[in-house]
Subunit: 374 residues, 2 copies
Amino acid sequence: MRIVSSGTASLTFPALPDGLDTPRVIVDLARVARNIATLQDELDRRGIALRPHAKTHKSIAIARMQVAAGAKGITVGTLGEAEVFVAAGITDVFLAYPLRADGPKAARLRALHAAAPALRVGVDSAGSAAVLAAAITGSDRPLTVLIEVDPGNRRTGVDSPAAVVGVARAAREAGLVVGGVFSHGGHGYWTGGALDAGTDEVRALTAAAEALHATGIACTTISAGSTPTMLTAAAGAVTEMRAGTYVYGDRQQWALGAISADGCAVAVAATVVSVHGDRIVLDAGAKALTKDRADWLTGFGAIVGYPELVIERVNDYHGVVAAPPGIARPSLGQIVAIVPNHVCPVIDLVDSVVAVAADGRAEEWRVDARGRSG
Amino acid sequence: MRIVSSGTASLTFPALPDGLDTPRVIVDLARVARNIATLQDELDRRGIALRPHAKTHKSIAIARMQVAAGAKGITVGTLGEAEVFVAAGITDVFLAYPLRADGPKAARLRALHAAAPALRVGVDSAGSAAVLAAAITGSDRPLTVLIEVDPGNRRTGVDSPAAVVGVARAAREAGLVVGGVFSHGGHGYWTGGALDAGTDEVRALTAAAEALHATGIACTTISAGSTPTMLTAAAGAVTEMRAGTYVYGDRQQWALGAISADGCAVAVAATVVSVHGDRIVLDAGAKALTKDRADWLTGFGAIVGYPELVIERVNDYHGVVAAPPGIARPSLGQIVAIVPNHVCPVIDLVDSVVAVAADGRAEEWRVDARGRSG
């Protein structure tokens, strides 16, 4: 994989609104709408459902834009996220996580299942299937689970078709409905083959579904998902795609080739607060940009319009930028737009964003599910 | 500097409360009280004031514990933090940051200055001094500033005694009161000489104060600060220490030698949600532990009681732990305590923590200034 140092010359972002109080997260709604429409149209053409992962935006308003454009429902990563969206009326939710529903989570799952009949939950072990079933004991309808398959990501998910069958049988015996299988091709982020990971997803999901069919368990949902694999995994037997980051884009997705240079819909606005010698300091640090940086990215974000500047260090409230002599740099007090490396954790830091419409009108939009990490 | 791989055998944390909904940040109040008393007593003995940095805990209750133990006031890093603590009656606040008080921040500074007469603000340039003065135009009393001196951290701050005098003169001409100088010896975190950085602070601050005295400007405050340098910089002409992380401690401070193995007062409780082959997965990922990891630390936190396990990867909601055969590991569904690498950004992710008293009683405490990053 190429090392992306500065090299972000081509990354663009629309002009920032006036009068910003930095640091501030800016969302360009025209780009959001285009990102939503582009993927939706392509998946419609392929006959594959889109169930975007809402952990990226954590926003009821953005989720409604996705559903209005044709998304089948949403994906979430935590019970807390599911609760927020279900309460807002977005009830076709897949919790794509091997939820361990004991302790306080048992009652939360039971309440969510009562409020959202279409709710489905991930599982990757017989043990956690039993705990899921116990949590909804007494409910008047069963809970549907999808079994997670590991396509090579080495995170969660079972690693063989035989193991899928084992978990499926245990889930059925516990009283759960097996609705299908799902995967996340995240290994592309760290192995250098982000797009190819989609092929792994299709292969692993197909084998899992075939093994289930052979034992008489129908897979109505075969769900793949990640932004780098959103096109390569939307193929074959796959019925559903769960990309999340595509809606906002970020520097990492651009570097992976998953979005175009004008596809980044989010930037962090920051002010130059200090200029000394060969460095400048921005008021966006680790509590605004995070320390998320893949090994193959240099710096903690791309400063739009200053492609040769590198954000070398971030402390809590300081972003330290190497600015050698002879290279263009913003001046003291100037506000710049930074495209973050990874947008998902950046959004989770802020209670609200500034959403800018195509006509330039800016509104404050809540990040409804911020901090709902469990 | 030694590389801290797993090697966290000696790190301890008290037993977790029952019935936790993970991931959850746990604060052990007995350890907090001991950390507060230990540093306060030592600085009292040296005749140096303690003004702890509140960005670590962002908690009104913890700040009150610090003040009750003898802290002179608090330090903050942003206007937003200052607003929260001043509104709660903690008004002796130093904003240790080169604030750029234009745009919406001008009115915010004016209101804060009116509410908190003891407020002081950092400055490191003539340009930002003029903006500070303009922001409080019309106020019935001047604003006091401390001039930031760079002790070798290469972040903010002026880098010579002559430059200190230049900024001080500009500040006075603009109508500000110059109250002294301050530094942050953060370069120890990345140069491998964390404790020695305190010596750099004392030297840089002394030279700056002498240069100001020589031009007839008295330095009533000579303020140093960071947790690694909290003892080495509390010396000579220094009048005030601004350590922050000492109150909670973390794996990084332990590795730097700044706190003891039983000094970590914060852990993230997490559940084992998946076990496959040579790995286990926890429900604490980058949105619970952050991706903060110094180059000389291996893994994204220390799992208490499992010193050989390494949290190799964190995704938003997944912490992937290498667990080779033959090494003790927690089982599916078990809850573990993780001492985070860097506690400050971890606290900023959560709206509340579980504060556990010495008698075992657990209460939910708000993180009052969470997200106030500007």
